[in-house]
Structure formats: C-alpha cells, structure tokens
Amino acid sequence: MTDTSQQYCTFYVDGVHFGIEVLQVQEVLRYQDMTQVPLAPSEIQGLINLRGQIVTAFDLRTRLAMPDREDGRRPMNVVIRAEDGAVSLLVDEIGDVIETRGDDFEPPPATLDEATRSLLQGVYKMDGRLLLILDCDKTLALIDDGSAVS
C-alpha cells in the first residue's frame, strides 16, 4: 500500500483543511473579478474570465453549508478540470501540496455532518490534524431540482 502515495493540493475553508488530487487541479489563482449570475443556484458566485475562457466559480463555503466569508475577505480560486471545461472553487486560503501514504486513508467518519460527508472521498490522518479529501464530481454536481432559485 505504501506506493499508492498521492499528492494533494490543499486549501482551507472556514478553518478546515481540504485536499484535492493534484492532477485534477489546473491552476491556483488569487482573487478574480466575477460577474454574478442572477437566478443561479446560490453556490455559484459568478463567472470568471480565465484567459478568454468563461469559468463558473463555486463557493465552497456555500456548498459545504458553512457560514459566509467575513466581509472584505477575498476568496482564492482553485481551478479544476471538470468534464465540460474548467470550474473554479472559491476557498479561503491555499495550503501546501501534500504527499500522503495510502494506509493513512480512511472513509469519512460517520459523525461528520451530512453536507460535508456526502462530498468527501475520505480523510487522511496526518500529524496532529486531519486532511479532508473532496470528491470533485460530487462537489460540482448541484442538485438540479431545489437549488435553482425560481
């Protein structure tokens, strides 16, 4: 199991340490101006012009049912490669790229709140803290029925 080591791009949202497989990440950007999309699901913060490509920005705080970012604090963009083009995840702070070993991996604990747990692949036990690994596909799959404000 030891050679199943994985690299994760990590970041913080509301003080929680999250990671995404490094291969899924296209780039990391500082705050970008966004165009808001009226009527869109609340997770969608807006559209970013990424070198001519239009990228939808998701606020992970909203997605994970966390409190809103404090006023004046600007999110960072973690741009990931999704099926139909790039999508940006808005996070509070960017962390290091962390290499993990397979045997430290466990499924998300049952005590975790449902909103977070359903989006996780699992948890890495690191020295003194835990790294929560996000499932990108699930994170981006918004519920089609209820979330679109009508």
Partner: protein
C-alpha cells in the same frame, strides 16, 4: 475543371490511399471480412461515380475489379498473392487514369484490356492467363474506352500492364511510380480535410483575438503614441481579415442541403401521382456549417409539405388552367448579414378559411379573435403547436408535429419564418437566418450595475422616455405595467425584477427622469424590457455556460466584453417565459387592434393624401413603406403597366385617381408623389396627387360597398375622407403583388 469531377478526384484519391494500406493489411489477414467490405465499397463508389461522369475506361477497370472483389467478399474465392497483385495493379491503373483526367480531362490512351482480362480470369477462378476467345466478351464491352483516338496500343512501355498474370511486382511498381509523380501536383493536395473540432477551436481562438484586439483598441484610444496607434490599426485590420477567413473555413454552400431535394421531391411526387419540377436559385449561397446542419430538417419538412399538401394532381392543375407539371422554386440569397431562403410552389395555396376553421376547432383562437384576424395572421396560425391542416394523415406529413417544430427549430438558431399564400396560386415560405452563430451582433444594456447582451435578432426598437413622459409613460393594468406605444399596449418586463436584482437607486432631485425600454420579440410575443441604461451595439462572441447553469433559462450564454469582464447573454424567450408573459400572439393582438380601429374605437395613424379633385384619401400608415418623389420622366412602360426602376427592382405604378375613377389634378411640374406600398413579395408605387398629412385620430369608418378598394369613409380633420384598403386597390388595378419580384422582372423583360 468541372467541380464534380475535381471533387470526385479528391475523394477517390483519398480512398485509393486507404486502399493501398487495406490491401497490405488484407494479405496479412486474408479472412478479414470488414476490410474486404471496405475495399469493395471504395471501388464500388469509384465505379459508380465514374460511370455517372462518363469515364468509361475507368469504369471498365473498376467494374471487373469490383466483380473480383465481390466474389472474394462472398467467400467464393479466397485471396491469393496473385489476386492481390492483380487488384493492386487495378488500383494503380485507376490512379493513373485519374492522373490523366486531372491533367487533360481525358482518360489517356493506355490500353487496360490485358488488365481487365487478367482480373476477369481471376474472377472466373482461373489462375492461368486467360484464353483470347474468352477474354473477348469482356473486351467487347470495354471497347468504347478508347475515348478519343481509338488508338489502344500506344505508349506500351510506360503504362500498360503485363498481359501475363505475373505475380511479381515490377509492373505495378512501375506504374505506381508514375502514379506518384502525377499525385505530386494533384488536386487532392490543394485541399485537405480538417477536423471540425479543430476549426471550432480556431474559431474560438480568433474570437479571443478579437476581444484582445478590442481591449488594445480601448487603451490606444486614450494613448497619444503615434507608433502605437499605427500598429494597433494594423492589428485591427489583420484581425478582422483573419476573423473573416476563419469564418469562411466553416462556410458551406446551401446547395449541399438542397442537392437531396430533387430526389425527395421525385420520390414523393411519384408516390402521389404528381408532377413536380424543382428549380434552384442561389445554390452557392454560403452558411455556417452548424446552421446548415440545423436547417436541414426544417427545410426537408417544408419541401415535403409543399409537395404533399401544396401541389395538386396534374389533372387538377390542368383543370385550373395551370401546366400539369408543378414547380417548386428554392431560392437563397444574402441580405443585410442574413441569409434568406424562400421555398415557393405554384400549387393550390393555403385556404385561410380552412386554417381558421381548424384553429377554432382546436381552440387555438377564440371566435372573437378569429373575427378580427387578417389573412396574414390566419396563415401564420399554421405555425402554432398542435396545428395541421392535412385532412387525411399521409405517411409523409400531417401528423400534427409539423410547422410548429419547423418554426421552433428555425428560431432556435435565431431565424424567422413567414408564410404567404394565395389560394389557387401557390405558397411561399420565407426563412431568414443569421450567417453564423458564433459571433452575433448584440445590444449591450446595463441593469443594477451589470451589463447584459441582447441578441439583435430579437430586437425590434428602442424607446426612451424622458421627464414628463417618463413619469406618465408607464400605466398599470391591475398591477401589470404597460406602455402605450403608438396607441398599442406594450407589456413591460423589468429586467432587474425578473432577474431578482435590486431596483436602481432613486434619482437625485435635479436629475432628469428617464426610462429605457428595449422592445423585443420572442416567438409571437412582443414586450418591452425596462433596463437602467442602453449602452452600445457590439459584435459578441457567444460562449456556452457551464452545465450547472444550464437550468437558468434566462441566459443563452456569456461573452467577454472589451474590458475583459464577463457579461451574460439574455435569452429573450426564456426571459419572457420567466416573466410569465402570456402567449398572446402579436399578430392576433395586431389583428384585434385593426378590428377595433375598424369599429372606430381606437386611435390609428393614417396617411392623408389627395387623389383626384377634392378627394381626400387615407390609408393606415403601417401599410406605407416610404414616400417618394419621382421625376415624371423616369417612368417607363412594361406591357400595359407603368413602372419605375426602384432600388434594383422594377416597381409597378398605380395611378390611384384612375383606380378610384377620378380625374387627376393637373400636375404641378414634373414631380410625381408616390406612396410605396410593400408586402413581403414586392413593392407597388401608388401615384397620388398630393401628400396632405399624417394624423393620429380616432376614426369612425362608415362602411360603404362596391367601390374599388374603398373600405368606407370617415371624418378626418373635419373633412370627409375615403379610407382605402391598399391591397384591394392594387388588386383592382390588375397588378399581381403575389408574383415574386424576380419573376416579375423576368416576365416584364420577356
């Protein structure tokens, strides 16, 4: 060279290159049925096409090759090296003949008799060189191959194949060398096939370049550096040219879609016992590939409909005094950045009364609405969902999924469709579609601080209310805001409220109040969109939204503005759905307005003029395209009609006073006052004595009957004035407005 021939050469040589590989592969796996089928198909295609194009020598070679291949394919023969060599020799022969065709448009004078014999011998299962006697049949068939000179034995060393079926390769090699030499300058290298995905990417990149160029232009507008300005100017020109060129790579002539119609029409008319001829005009008109794809089905449907419902049987036609053979006329042309496609037939036309009856029966319109509808609005009912006039359902059309689908498909790509018909004379469907979808002209508006783009195709007009009118311009019908636009109620939709955005901050005391209304049309709905600010028109590059936003129907996509910010493109149809706009047909509404005007309840704008002594005549201003003054000397005659050359067409003139049975006033000078009336098919000039005024009044028409073109009289400006129905007046003057302008011209010339 003929376009068909060069296309054939390009295609075939691609096929041949593939064949070489396939044969080699086939030798490794002699049992591969799929490969054999491929090879067979390729040779079969070449054979079929060259037979059609009249290349008899090529045909004879491929014909025997095909026979051999078909026996291989059916498993009656198995592949031997001998057969492979013979087939390869055939491929080389084909190549060499094609080389000749390309150079000289002839097939060359090489004799392929021996090769043909060798192939047919193998087909019969004989390994040995064929006996002369047996080969004679095959050769007799192929005699005409010596197309020009009848000299079958020339140039043996360069080209001719050995008569003996030598399994060795030298001969094929030799001729393939010759083949290659020709290939080097061949047509097929003048063009290459490119993946559409790559073209799309190029298109996107050029779109980006256009945006970057726009940004640079914005900067340099404020800069004073001459060198920079000159360079930007060049960048500007080059980018524009690049954009046009890349757009062209995606263009295809509409003939590509039309080419299958003659067959469709033939099959259909045969099965109905009708005679229909297809005429095409403007086949070479080019359209973006995606649009070509999108209109294929609607066009086919319209053509089918025309033959199925529109055309009468030859007997019925003759009884009507029309030629037994009907004509379906397809016409395409560019106009104002759009492509117009017209499909007209000279069949029985659409019976407006039947349409109306059907619409009533289906509950599409109410009795009350029906009574007020004009013929034109009735005809357009056929585009309503759930409408089909076919009295009996045939296997071709008339399943009730007809014209509404046609219309929605055309509107999906930003097009419009309109129908005109005259009972007993024929029907014309007119489709207007944009040239391309990727870059569209749009109006940029601002609401709640954000910019939005509105596609120009949906745009009817812009209305700006200021000061006093702004305060009074918006009225409420039980809470629903409306604006009176030229006497008609225009429902209003507030963009910010519909999108859930905050209202604009109240204006400062000293600031002039203003309301900006963008009048839009989606489907049959017309509404005014209230925005904070109207900015500019711009060519925008349409970019799709991510799949998470697909559910938001108010937006059609997004684009990047000159300053790099993202702006959303509004989907007018989605927006009107979201605003809960009732589906009130604009045409129905118009018809209602007309009906009310006739009943004398509504204000109407009329043009007043004089035709004959003391005779005041009024026509609705909406019927007037333009007012013109012509020098009397430019009137020419065509047959018994007076005409003028007007905007590239020949426009017939009607002396209104004569139609109305009055003497015209003595002319002042040599200037004629002409009211240009236009309907979709053409224009007619009405010569009047004097233009008096344009009035906006409540008009009570006292109906009278029996006078040519006069609907009745009304008191306008305290004087009795005749109200004229322009169409009736033109009809009674004997001019046929339904004729196509182009046809009209031709007839007049003839």
């Amino acid at each position: 060279m003929d376009e068909i021939v060069s296309e054939f050469l390009v295609e075939s040589s691609e096929g041949l290159d593939q064949l070489d590989q396939d044969f080699v592969e086939l030798e490794k796996n002699p049992g591969d049925k799929a490969l054999l089928a491929n090879i067979f198909r390729c040779i079969h295609t070449i054979k079929g096409t060259c037979g059609f194009l009249g290349f008899s020598k090529l045909e004879s070679v491929t014909h025997v090759g095909e026979n051999l291949l078909s026996r291989l394919r059916d498993g009656e023969l198995s592949l031997t090296p001998e057969i492979t060599s013979a087939l390869l020799a055939m491929v080389d022969a084909v190549r060499s003949i094609m080389g000749h065709i390309e150079e000289s448009e002839g097939e060359g004078d090489t004799d392929y008799g021996p090769l043909v014999e060798r192939l047919s011998a193998l087909t019969r299962g004989e390994a040995a060189p064929p006996a002369e006697a047996e080969a004679e049949d095959a050769q007799a068939d192929n005699k005409p191959e010596a197309d020009s000179k009848g000299d079958e034995s020339s140039d043996p060393e360069a080209e001719s194949q050995p008569a003996a079926p030598s399994p060795a390769a030298p001969a094929p090699e030799k001729s393939s060398e010759a083949g290659e030499e020709r290939q080097s300058k061949s047509l097929s290298e003048g063009s290459i096939r490119v993946d559409v995905g790559l073209l799309d990417k190029l298109m996107n990149l050029v779109g980006e370049l256009v945006l970057a160029r726009n940004q640079v232009l914005q900067y340099t507008n404020t800069a004073a550096d001459n060198g920079l300005n000159a360079t930007t100017q060049r960048l500007n020109l080059i980018t524009t040219e690049l954009q046009e060129s890349v757009m062209k790579t995606r263009m295809q002539p509409i003939g590509n879609v039309w080419s299958k119609f003659p067959r469709v029409v033939r099959d259909l008319s045969m099965s109905f016992g009708k005679k229909v001829e297809v005429e095409m005009e403007g086949k070479e008109t080019e359209l973006d590939k995606t649009i070509i794809e999108a209109i294929k089905d609607p066009l086919t449907h319209i053509v089918r409909n025309a033959v199925d419902h529109g055309m009468e049987t030859p007997e019925a036609r003759e009884a009507e005094g029309k030629p037994a053979q009907g004509t379906l006329h397809l016409r395409a042309f560019h106009e104002g950045g759009q492509v117009n496609i017209e499909i007209s037939d000279d069949g029985r036309g659409v019976d407006a009364q039947k349409v109306l009856a059907k619409a009533l029966q289906r509950g599409l319109v109410t009795q009350e609405q029906a009574a007020r509808m004009t013929e034109r609005s009735i005809l357009n009912l056929i585009f309503f969902p759930g409408f089909s006039t076919a009295e009996k359902v045939t296997n071709v059309s008339g399943r009730g999924v007809g014209m509404d689908v046609v219309r929605s498909n055309i509107e999906k790509i930003g097009g419009t469709v309109d129908i005109q018909s005259q009972l007993g004379r024929g029907t014309t469907l007119r489709i207007k579609i944009p040239l391309t979808l990727a870059i569209v002209p749009a109006l940029i508006v601002r609401t709640a601080g954000d910019r939005f783009a509105l596609p120009q195709v949906n745009l009817l007009e812009l209305v700006r209310l200021e000061g006093e009118t702004a305060r009074k311009g918006i009225e409420y019908v039980r809470g629903a805001p409306v604006h009176r636009l030229r006497g008609q109620l225009l429902p209003l939709v507030y963009l910010n409220r519909t999108l859930g955005l905050p209202d604009a901050p109240p204006r400062a005391e000293d600031e002039e109040e203003e309301i900006n209304i963008v009048v839009l049309q989606a489907d049959e709905r017309v509404f005014g969109l209230v925005v904070d600010e109207i900015l500019d028109t711009e060519e925008i590059v349409v970019k799709p939204l991510g799949k998470q936003l697909k559910t938001v129907d108010a937006f059609a996509g997004a684009t990047i503005m000159g300053d790099g910010a993202v702006a959303l493109i509004l989907d007018v149809l989605g927006l009107s759905n979201r605003a809960g706009l009732a589906v009130v047909s604009r045409r129905v509404a118009e018809a209602e307005a007309e009906g009310m005007a006739a009943a004398g309840e509504e204000k109407q704008t009329m043009l007043l003029f004089q035709a004959g002594e003391n005779r005041r005549v009024a026509i609705p201003l909406s019927d007037v395209a333009r007012l013109e003054e012509f020098d009397a000397q430019i009137i020419e005659r065509a047959g018994s009609t007076e005409v003028v050359q007007y905007r590239g067409h020949i426009m017939p003139l009607v002396r209104l006073s004569e139609v109305l049975g009055r003497h015209s006033l003595p002319q002042e000078g040599e200037t004629l006052h002409v009211v240009v009336y236009k309907n979709g098919a053409g224009s007619v000039g009405l010569i009047v004595d004097k233009i008096l005024d344009i009035v906006d009044e409540q008009i009570a028409v006292h109906r009278t009957r029996g006078r040519s073109g006069i609907v009745g009289s009304a008191v306008i400006q305290e004087k009795v004035t005749d109200v004229l129905d322009v169409k009736l007046a033109i009809d009674s003057s004997g001019i046929d407005l339904f004729e196509h302008p182009a046809k009209h011209t031709e007839e007049l010339r003839a």
